[in-house]
């Protein structure tokens, strides 16, 4: 169980999170959506223990937490295999074991033995993001924190890696917190959606029915449309009156 308890946070005089309370249970997938700069990443950094909240408390009773970032953050001086094994290395796993485990994960991510010997700059962006995902999953986390990990990938690759994460979730009892700009992605993958507005206030929250595997494209588009009909969501993304105001002034 991961719970944010009345979390507020400021960077200088700018408030990025306001009195946010939410919890994530094992096996669930929550998406956090909202406009740029609404404190989504800050919320995740707090959950991952990278940042102490300004006020409020964070409780994380998951045994192992792993993060995947928007950029792959691979280390240029390590080859792909050692990059994947980096998390295991941090846990003190012996070299031979961590390389074996890394190679096993890499295989499920469709990285060839040849790719594993390459350094990050020799791999494509998509390959590097696979390495980053592999690095997080290699430590067999119970909680996976994803900070827009697929936003720079093309739609085919995006869907492939999304299915991969969904598969992992159904195999293990993995809990996922997913930050994304992409409402389609949020609804395709997650059980609940949280909408933050600028200033980091939780303005809307909903559950998505059915299991992710049984959701049809039609269902997903329908859900996106109904989410966007919510006044709170429109206000958060500044959708509500921006176009009409422009027309009036013209």
């Amino acid at each position: 169980m991961l719970s944010w308890n009345k979390i507020s946070h400021h960077f200088g005089y700018t408030q990025v999170l306001e009195d946010l309370t939410h919890s994530i249970s094992a096996g669930s997938c929550s998406a956090i959506v909202g406009p740029s700069g609404c404190g989504k990443s800050t919320l995740l950094s707090i959950a991952g223990g990278l940042l102490q909240p300004g006020s409020g408390t964070i409780e994380n009773s998951f045994e192992r937490t792993a993060m995947v970032f928007q950029e792959d953050r691979t280390l240029p001086w390590l080859n792909a295999l050692d990059n994947i094994a980096f998390g295991l290395k941090a846990q003190g796993v012996a070299k031979k074991t961590r390389r074996e485990q890394g190679a096993k994960i890499a295989q499920t991510l469709k990285l060839t033995a040849d790719d594993l010997q390459k350094y990050p700059h020799q791999l494509s962006g998509g390959m590097r993001q696979r390495v980053a995902l592999g690095r997080a999953l290699a430590i067999e986390p119970n909680l996976l924190l994803l900070d827009e990990p697929f936003s720079a990938l093309d739609i085919g690759l995006k869907q492939e890696l999304q299915s991969y994460v969904l598969e992992k979730m159904s195999q293990t009892n993995l809990a996922v917190v997913f930050i994304t700009h992409d409402l389609l992605e949020a609804i395709r993958m997650c059980d609940s959606i949280l909408v933050l507005c600028a200033g980091g206030k939780l303005v809307y929250q909903c559950e998505i029915p059915e299991t992710p595997s049984s959701r049809s494209e039609r269902f997903i588009y329908h859900q996106v449309a109904s989410l966007l009909e919510q006044p709170a969501v429109r206000a958060a993304f500044d959708l509500s009156n921006a176009p009409s105001r422009e027309i009036l002034s013209a």
Binding site: F69, R73, P76
Partner: protein, 212 residues
């Protein structure tokens, strides 16, 4: 060539090499290590900046004069001057390297709970090396120059002293021969020692140059 044939070329070359290299190696190791430690603290790094600028700005010849006063005539003066002129170079490069370590990579390491030692060996040092190598090469060149200059004024052995003798005898051939000797020594150390070291420590860069 005649100098070498006659067997009087080698002893000064060896002596000067020893003075330049021992000073350089000491300065490279200590300067880099201190820079790494200072770079861990932003405050310390900022405090050291003016000190570095001052140390880098003091002309080597001034150090030689001071060293002559402190240590008198002899090899110690040359070694001291080499250390004191090259150490700030490696120190400054190490601090600059530490300043530019990628915060995002550190966050990534922290998200896996990486310990201090792992971050030093897997993050800071590999990043630092790309700043240190150019600085080491510059410092190495400086070490030879300063060693010869110090010898010229403070010793009666070594390449510098031999150059001083050539000056007294107005022997241009001999002077040129010693200059050549210094250049050859510098080149051989850089390409026989520093380049292979770089290849060994930064294998990912070799690949980059080979494939592009």
């Amino acid at each position: 060539m005649r100098m070498i044939d006659e067997g009087r070329g080698w002893p000064p070359m060896l002596l000067t090499s020893w003075r330049a290299l021992s000073g350089f190696v000491f300065a490279a190791l200590v300067g880099s290590a201190l820079g790494l430690l200072a770079g861990l603290s932003m405050t310390l790094a900022k405090t050291m900046r003016p000190v570095i600028t001052i140390l880098l700005g003091v002309p080597p010849i001034a150090w030689i004069v001071l060293a002559l006063i402190w240590f008198g005539m002899g090899g110690a003066t040359a070694i001291f001057t080499v250390i004191v002129t090259t150490l700030p170079m490696t120190f400054a490069a190490a601090i600059e390297g530490m300043r530019t370590v990628d915060r995002r990579q550190l966050d990534m390491a922290d998200s896996f709970g990486a310990g201090f030692y792992l971050k030093i060996t897997n993050l800071y040092i590999p990043h630092l090396l790309s700043y240190l190598f150019p600085a080491w090469i510059t410092a190495l060149g400086m070490a030879w120059k300063v060693a010869v200059m110090a010898e010229l004024l403070s010793t009666n052995e070594g390449i510098g002293a031999s150059l001083a003798l050539a000056r007294v005898n107005l022997d241009t051939d001999e002077a040129m021969a010693w200059v050549m000797a210094v250049i050859l020594l510098l080149l051989s150390v850089e390409y026989l020692f520093l380049e292979p070291l770089k290849r060994k420590l930064e294998p990912w860069r070799n690949d980059a140059s080979a494939k592009r």
